[in-house]
Structure formats: structure tokens, C-alpha cells
Symmetry: D2
Subunit: 356 residues, 4 copies
């Protein structure tokens, strides 16, 4: 109800504010008998954490996850997996100026109106720091789905786009540059652009594209819990996301049926894949791909008019250490949420065994 | 789990195949004491039903809803509202040709692979006829939300777009033309285009924009059940939808923070509204607006290669009565799903009463 | 939330008032590919329906279930199964006297206080007629669990008890007498007692015992959704139930550990079964058995003081056709609810497949 | 699904094994603005913890709860409350003997069969230590329900019963003796009996009665989520519970309707209260009372035949520090679970506000 759980069988519930003691979560419904690769989990954490490169926020956070239950001698036991990520680099002083202030396009104002109280330190619960817990759970979900490949990458920064279809990209290059764009020439342009934007004390939006390959047929639960509907919800629940499209997406709305339909091959695969690997809300075995739009980060290093809690318009300038562009760090979060959705539908689908 | 329920407090569960005895549903959690306007409910049904105009399918279906419970002397009692919509115009013969065939970009193939069995008549459960039940529930949700205004309209058909901001449109004009576009000059062009497309035996995609006004502050349940995330899921669960964006949407990904941030007025409203009425997943009292992309209808009246269940590629031509463009009839469905989301969050929000 | 759904994967949602148009429900999550035995379903309905014998209410209701979806050519398709049971024998006039009256130990008063409105005809939603929908779903659940045997029977009426362990009873005799007690000598005494009670215009309570055999090991989801906890909730949700115990039950509270522990055989079965087939909330493969207490029916054919909605105490005498003892008709309802619980855990348990 | 969550609006999810790093949980949906009394929470923890008196287990565990989120300056913020209880007194060596052994009437065997793996240390997830998290959440729920009084007490140990109605007891005496029985003479007998049992290396069962007063009318969600059905599930989910009855309970099954019906007073209260404060699953404002049966603790300090994982029957004697009788420490757990149920229905009931 209070929406801090995601999933049904493989269910993640999270807690934690940016400047509290710790973030953490519980994964309930993880299948037993999975030998976890803890290094792989930490690697995902490291991809998301701040301070990785010159184009992301320079905050230093260790983001080390501590598992407290549900794992015995390195193997999942089927009982809930509790974990925490201590907050080790809280500089609450940085935020004292916003105690009585509502920053533009931040959640300060609505949290106070909804709940009547607000942990103003670093955005509290509305901080994107919350996504660290998603990455933990997503990293475990990926290990359940070991034959399925989930690759996200930055497909645009501002007006700089990757202008190739994903099939022509080499996903092993994604991590080779700080932007996380596998097209290296474009990555360089994006990096320059982000540096320029940061110099201006400004921020810029972008998009992340995600490709999921080797998905078995049959995942997704129509009519309401269609596979793409849950993927959409998952992505839209990530901070700063403004849009989601899969397959042909918004371009599909421009097209004619005779051009849009994916004709079959004799083996049930399709010649084209404007459907994006999903028909009627159910995976058809073709690649699933979708694109997620992120707005520019709201905290800018320029003076801006803000509102204080006495109803005065005041001038405020962003302080602290913030990302000039969120999409490079969003890549592992998009993958994590995709993994959660796929793992959940994968486990649900087991109940359809027709051999009873 | 099997995804035929939507919502948490105001919860709709539906059933029904295109060519079965009836469609229907149960609304559990409707507040008691609402005097229902049954004409208003039927009016919404009529907006969705086939055969309304020359540019939609010519099937004739009465789509009359029968309420079976939960209402006493015209007033909701707080007990579940059961309803059915009899299927009165089933022409199963129309579909005998597809018994052993998987139509391109339809759900025939995946349903058979997922469930091992398929009611092939008219698409069975994957038929958009299922959305009639959503409209019933949405019409009741609208009556709960009597002070909130929900207006959807067709904002594009193929490459013909409404090129004005929604603030310049007169929503009372939406129903004045068969396309359901409040910009009458554009509506006319769209209508001509759809007729032309139909003559070609083809279909075309489009978009629907929805504006929700007078929403109280505080609706939405972060971090996973953000207001826009549920709206996105709701829209993506509608047949043929390929994308969702709210506020600045995909355009927001092109922008800089200094341009994108919505500065406050002293009363807490904002000067601009690129946020689309939602901050951090919570309504801020400004207009909520979003756009939904629909692909072209997959059934075309041209010969197309299809797959039969023996693995042969065969030629198939669409028969029967289908929509050349789905967006005009999608308008009431988009509104209905929006109403379900808002009503649910509205009721959830009551539990936050801070006067305990 | 509004509690008209039961189960998670195999989920039943019901609607309907005693004197409305129809009762009905939706079963979402029934596995596809089950060839349904409709006669077996109707047989369960007939066991529950009124008017079967001289010791139950003489109301005549056909209680014929109509399936509207989710079944194609007699086989479940995996889509939701919608069904209705028309109300054909409504004598609303019988209830006009209670329009403004709250009957003792009925739900009239609390429904009006909770919801502010009440369908007073025949108890409305609080009527035990609602259980007909549970029997429909339970009958389908039984067909999923074809190798599991669920046998309930009347184990006491007032102070007349079956004084044998269930192992000495022949469950094929349960349906041989109107009381549904497999111990024929005791059944006769119970029948006489019920007739005597009815002559007095009174009612009497009783217990139903249920035995579930051939349950696979591993069903149940600790720590909150233990198998016996869900069975308990299921039984307590049936009208007139006041208590639930399983295995040694309340007697177990009198015992010492050295007497109560069930020692193992070498094959993992146990020598005794005071645990009632469940350890730590998980089935262990031994027989599950439990006992359910039903209070005497509140409607008696004697004059009783009641309250009217003006706050006056008035004299009221039960009219109409009511059961002098509810337990004979409760037997199929107890079995149905047990089947729903077992089927749901059975399907959940599939997700634990450790061969991923 | 994997059942480690309880409640819908006020929802507790827990994790933790007896001998892992920590236990913990997340409370999602706690209303904002509650000034928490942390001493009161710790007091409840202390009532449950081992080592309090001579008649309970002599293990020493601090059981100090650490709150990690959801509370700002001592006040709940409406965001999820994460907490942990470190395991500080793990003596894993105590349990090495059971690594390959299944203890009689413990969950060792079924956990291994269900999950294929088992954290054997101290019972792992099946240890009653898990209930510490329930007490944390229950203590917070009690603070939400500040005007509602929840009093549980030991009503029997073995065959020693409190032979007075609860109305004649002084609940302020419950904590005055180690048995937690407010009838001091009976408490003394119980204490002697438990000491005697312990000397024998044996254990004994008992019952806990709980009385909830000042409950507002209207709590409970028929037809499946009746107030007593959820209370029953809540109690049956506690380790070692074998039965639940409310109001007249199993005695009600012996009675006639003319004796059992609760006649009204003119103000809507009832003269008797065999209904136990609940009609049709909805609270009627009278006292709610129920009784819970606990089996004797399975670990006894006598030699017993056990099963090893090679299928050999071996002799095993309980070691370590165990309770000879669980009911004194169960009292705060019963109260906590009752508080969770009432708080959840209390919040749900707010959505029925009929003034929309």
C-alpha cells in the first residue's frame, strides 16, 4: 500500500533515507539453493555509486552491502534476505540551508504536504540514494536469470544520440567509458558535453536504452500485469524518469499496420521486431528492448528562486556534490529494475506447469 | 498474481473473452454511500463501444452493463460491485480461419505458448473488448472523484498532430467529432486520413493525451508506487500501447536543468509545469498531463504472411470488422484507467490522516 | 483490502447479496489445461444448497452455477474464470420486518455502522448464501488436487460427539445421512437432537472435523503464512465459526513435551501425529486434520428482544426458512475452503523448484 | 507470497535467523506524525526476551532494537521504518549436534525438504526468536492505538486454569509475577508446576487469553478478512500455537441459539457478549476476547529418538537453554500480533469515510 515493495513472488521491500543510519531492504521469495557471487553484487553497487569518474558527483560513499539473513554458507536458503547499506558519508551540514526551503522541481514540498513532516537532510527518502537497494536486489535477480542477458546503456545525453540500432553496438564496451555508452565516438562527445554543462553549473537530461536477450517465451501476466506494463512501472519508479517506450514506442504511433506488423519466420521467430519482444503483454522470445527518458537533475549550481516554508520566494544556490547528468549512473539501476521484473515473471510462470 | 486485478483499495478484477458468454468484473473497495449515475456509466460505455461512427469498426455491440451486487436502491453499499456485460454479437464464424493460425503482431502465438491452449475466437482474452470492463469501473471511479476533471483526447493520428498546448484546447469539443480531437480543424484532417487509410485496407497509429485537473496534493506512494509509475502501468496495460510520457516526457531528456526546473509562486503553485503535476511520485496540485502512444491495429485488410500451428507460412487476409485506427475509441479507456489510478491513491491517502 | 478476495496465486474474489440479482465470483490463477468435471462441481453445490433434507432449511434454491469465461471446450485456459449463481428464490417480503431492526447476534447493526447503509434483505452480504461461491471455487480446486483427499464431517452437534478417532471412520458414509456424520449410530442421535431442537423453535451449534490426506511435503509459507494459519483464517472466515484447532489443538495445551512430541520412523513419517501433519507451518506429509466450531444459528423461531434503528427495544420472532443447525451444510464449505488453501500453497510451492 | 509480510496498510516484513548476524524488519505504512515512545518499545522487547526469570530460558540476549529509518527527531515520517536486532549471544556450538539431525516435532525436517537447504543453527528461521520483530512492530502499533487497551495473560499452564471470567481480573497484576497470570494465587501454582516440569527435563503447554477494549465499531473486512479471521491467522502464525477461539469459542458449539444470542441494550451495546465483540467479522464496540492454545515446547532435556539425514534413528538429548513453558513469554507476542491486526483494520477503515 505504502509503496515500498516491488514484485510479487520475488519481492523487494526497501527502507532508508539519504542521511539516516543506513539504507536496506528485504528480498522475500528468492529461490533457495542459489550460490551467490558476492563480488558480482558489489560490482553492480560500484557501478551505481557516486565518485566513480570526473563526470559524476564527487561524493565518496563506500556503498558496501551487508547481508544479514537468508544466506547460509554462501547459498540462499529460501528465507528472506535482509541487507543494509550503512550511510558512511553523511554531511548533514550541507543541507541545513534547505531545512525550511522547498527546492524547485524537488520533492521537498510534496513530502511535507503529504506527510506533514520531512527529513530534509539530502532529500531524505526522495533521494536517489534509495536506488542502491534496488541494485542489490537486481544483482541477485540477475544471478537467478543466469542465461538471460540484460544490457542497458546511455543512448542519449541532451541532444547527442547514439544513431545506430542496438544490434550494431558492442555491449562489452559500455563500461569502457565513464558515460556508459558503447558507441565510443558518441561517448566521447557526450562526455565533453557533460563536462561543459557542469562548468556552466547546469545539468542535462538523457535516455537509457535497455536490451534483454534470451528471455523465454511466456513471461507476463495479462491483462493488467503485462510484461511491458510492469517494465514501464519499474522504470518510471526510478528517480527523474519522465517517459518509457518499448519496441517501436512513440515512433510506432506514426506508422501504418502494414509496415509495423512483425511477420513470422517458420520457427516462430519474427523477421522484424517492432513489437519489442512482447505481444499482448507476454514475451515471445525475441529481444526485449525499451528506452527510458531522464530529466535533467534538479539541483543546479546556479542561483534559483525557491520557496521557503513561510511562503517567501528566496534565492537559493545548489551546494554539495551532485551529478551534472544522471544517466551514466542510471544504467545499472535500469538493469536492476529490469532484472527484478523478469525474475518475478519467471517465477510466476512456473506456476503454469501444465503437467499437474 | 495472474494479473487480472488492478488497484489496491479501489480494486477491479475482470474476466471475459471476446466471444464467451459475457465479460464482467468485480469492484472491491468502492466507498459506500455513493449515489450512482447509471446514465453517466452507460455514456462512457457508449463512447468505447464499436460502431459509433464511420471511422471505427462497424461491429454492433450493445455493451450494456448489468450490475448484480453492491448497490442498494441506487447507492453503493461498500460491498463488492459485481457486473457483467453480455456478449450479444458474437460471430464466431468470422474467426474460424484463425483457429490454427497465428496472426502477425497479435497475441495468438504467445497465448498458446504460455497457456498451452487458446480461445481463438476473436482474440479471446487478448481482445480489446476486455477494456469494456475497465470503462465500467472507471466511470464509477469518476463519480467518486466528482471534483477532479479527467479529459483525454486524440493528440495525433499518424503524422497529424495537434500543435497547440492543451491549455489552448476546449475539451468540451472532444466529443463533437468522431476522432475525439478537440481541435476541430485537426480533427477533420485526422478523420480524412483515417478514411484514406481504411480504403487502403491498412491501419494507423496515434497518441492520446490526458489532462487531470484539480487533483489534491499528496497522491502517490513512493518509492515504487509513484503516481506517474502507476499511471504509466495503467496506460501500458491497455491493448496496443507502446509508450508513456508525462510532463516534459522524452523532450525533458533533451533539456538543461536551468530550463526544466519549475519555479515556485509564493502560494506553492509553479510558474511552469514541466513536472506534469507530479514531484517525487506525489501530486503537487498542478495539472497532471501525459501522453500515450498506440501502435497501428495489427489486423489489416490486406494479404499478409502468417504462421500456422504446423510451422507453415501461409497467406492470410483480415476479415471481419476492425478499427482502422484505435485512438478515438481509446480515449474513454485512457480516462477510465486514469480514474482508477487517481481513485485508488485518493483512498489510500486517507490513511495518512495525521490527527490520530 | 476490502476483503472479498482469498488466495494469492489461486485467487477467488466474490460478490453478491442474498437477495440481489446473483452471487458470483472470479477465480484468477487457475492453471490452464484442466478438463473440468462440471457434474462434480454441481454435486458440491447440491451438498451445500438448502432444502436437501428435513433437518435443514426448507428454502428451495437451484444454486446452479453458470461459467462465463476462462474455460474453452471444457478445459481451463489460464484466463480468469468468471461465474454467477442467479438468485432465483428471493422472497424479499419475508424480510420487510427487519428493515429497521437489528437482530441479536446478526451482522445487521455492524454493517449499518460500518458502511452507513445496509441491504437488509436476507442479511445481504452477511448471509451465509455467500458461501455458495466458495463451494464453486473449492470444487475446482479439488480437481487440481486430484490425488489429495479432503474429507470433512460433522464431529459434534450440541453435546453429542463422535467419540472415535477419525482413523476409525469410513468417510464414504458421510453422505449416507442428512447430518453428514460418518459414524451412523451417532448420526442418528444427532438427527434426532436437531429435530427436537427445531420443534422448540431453537437452534444448536456443532463442530466439523476435516482430514486432508496425501498432501505433499513442503506446503506452507512461514513465518506469517503458515499452512495452519491460512487454514485457520479460511475456516474462521466462514459464517458462524467461533474456533479452530489442528492436530492436538487445545488438548495439546494440557500436555507435556515428552508425551506430545511425534517421534520419527526411519522413512521420515512419524509414529504419532499430534502435530496434525504440519511442522513449523509446513506440511510434513502426514495427515492434516483440524476441527472447526460453529455457534448456533442466530435466527430462532422464538420471540426475542431486538433493537430498532430508533433505539427502541422491540420483540421480534424469526420468520422464514432457517437451519436449526448449520453444521451439516457447513461440511462442503469447510472442504471447499480447505481445498482453496491447499491449492494455493501447492501452486506457490512450484516456484521453489531448485533446478534453475 | 513467501510469507514474511503481515498486514496490508500497516505492513510488517521481517527477516532473520536465530544465529545469523541480526533479525530485523520493515514497517511500511506507519502513519506519519507519531511521536514514538522508545522506552515503551524496549519494555515490550524486555517482556519477550529470554532470561527474565527462573521459569524461562536462561539465555541472555540484549534484544536491543536499532531503528534505521522512517523516524526523524523521534517522530514517524510516513516512510518505511527499518530496524534491526543484532544477534549478540549466538552459541552456534550448542547446535552442532543437530546439523545432520531432525529433532522430533521441530521444523528441521520440513525446512530441509521444502527448501533443500537449512540453516540448522538454533532452528534458523523457524526459531521463535523471529517473534522479536513482531514485538517491535506491535509496540509501535500500540502507540497508534493509544486509546485501545490490549491485555493478554496466561490463562492456563497444563491443567492449571484461571477459573474466573476476565472481568474479575486486574490486568495491572499480570506483570507482577513471572508467569504473567493476573490471578496471583493461580500464578503461584503455575510457577510451581513449571519448576517441577523443568526439574523433570520436560516441558508443558498452556493458553494465553487476550482482551481488547475500547475498539471502535466497524473494524474488519468481510467476507474473507473478517476481524476474527485475521486475529486467528495472526495467533496461529506464532510458533507453537495449536488453536484459536474467540467469544464463546468451542463452548459456543455446545449451546443453543436461545442461550447464545447477545440481546441488545437500547444504546446498541449488548447484555451478554458471547459474540466476543465481533459480529459478521466486524467489531461491534464490545470487548474483543480470544484464547490461544500453545503446545509444550518440543525441545526437552530427556533422551529422545530422533532421525538423522541418513535415515537412522538415533538418540538425542536437548541441550542448551530452552523454555520449559512458552506461555509467559508468549504474552507480549500475542499482544503484539493483536495490535498489528487492529492497527491495520483501523487504518483500512479510514478509507470508508462517507463524506466524500
Amino acid at each position: 500500500m505504502a509503496g515500498n515493495s516491488f514484485g510479487t513472488i520475488f519481492k523487494l521491500t526497501t527502507f532508508g533515507e539519504s542521511h539516516g543510519e543506513a539504507l536496506g531492504g528485504i528480498i522475500d521469495g528468492c529461490p533457495p539453493g542459489i550460490t551467490l557471487d558476492f563480488e558480482a553484487i558489489q560490482l553492480e553497487m560500484d557501478r551505481r555509486k557516486p565518485g566513480q569518474s570526473a563526470i559524476v558527483t564527487q561524493r565518496k560513499e563506500a556503498d558496501e552491502v551487508q547481508f544479514l539473513s537468508g544466506i547460509f554458507e554462501g547459498i540462499t536458503t529460501g528465507t528472506p534476505i535482509g541487507f543494509i547499506i550503512p550511510n558512511t558519508n553523511q554531511k548533514s551540514a550541507d543541507y541545513s540551508q534547505i531545512k525550511d526551503t522547498y527546492r524547485p522541481s524537488h520533492a521537498d514540498y510534496v513530502y511535507e504536504k503529504k506527510y506533514g513532516i520531512r527529513d530534509y537532510r539530502g532529500g531524505g527518502r526522495s533521494s536517489a540514494r534509495e536506488t542502491a537497494c534496488r541494485v542489490v536486489a537486481g544483482a541477485i535477480a540477475k544471478q537467478i536469470l543466469s542465461t538471460i542477458k540484460i544490457n542497458a546503456f546511455v543512448s542519449s545525453v541532451g541532444e547527442i544520440f547514439v544513431d545506430k540500432p542496438y544490434q550494431e553496438l558492442d555491449f562489452t564496451k559500455t563500461e569502457s567509458n565513464p558515460v556508459r555508452c558503447p558507441d565510443e565516438a558518441t561517448a566521447l562527445k557526450m562526455e565533453e558535453h557533460i563536462k561543459e554543462i557542469r562548468k556552466q553549473g547546469d545539468t542535462v537530461g538523457g535516455t537509457v536504452t535497455c536490451v534483454i536477450q534470451n528471455v523465454p517465451m511466456g513471461l507476463g501476466e495479462p491483462v493488467f500485469d503485462k510484461l511491458h506494463a510492469e517494465l514501464g512501472k519499474a522504470m518510471l519508479s526510478i528517480n527523474a524518469v519522465k517517459g518509457f517506450e518499448y519496441g517501436s514506442g512513440f515512433c510506432g504511433a506514426l506508422m501504418k499496420g502494414s509496415d509495423h506488423n512483425d511477420l513470422y519466420n517458420a520457427d516462430g521467430t519474427t523477421q522484424s521486431n517492432l513489437s519489442g519482444g512482447i505481444q499482448g503483454g507476454i514475451s515471445n522470445g525475441m529481444d526485449i528492448y525499451f528506452r527510458v527518458a531522464f530529466k535533467p537533475v534538479a539541483t543546479i549550481m546556479q542561483k534559483q528562486e525557491s520557496l521557503d516554508n513561510q511562503g517567501n520566494l528566496i534565492e537559493l544556490q545548489g551546494k554539495g556534490r551532485h551529478d551534472p547528468c544522471v544517466v551514466p549512473r542510471a544504467v545499472p539501476i535500469v538493469e536492476a529494475m529490469a532484472a527484478l521484473v523478469i525474475a518475478d515473471f519467471y517465477l510466476i510462470n512456473r506456476t503454469y506447469n501444465r503437467t499437474i
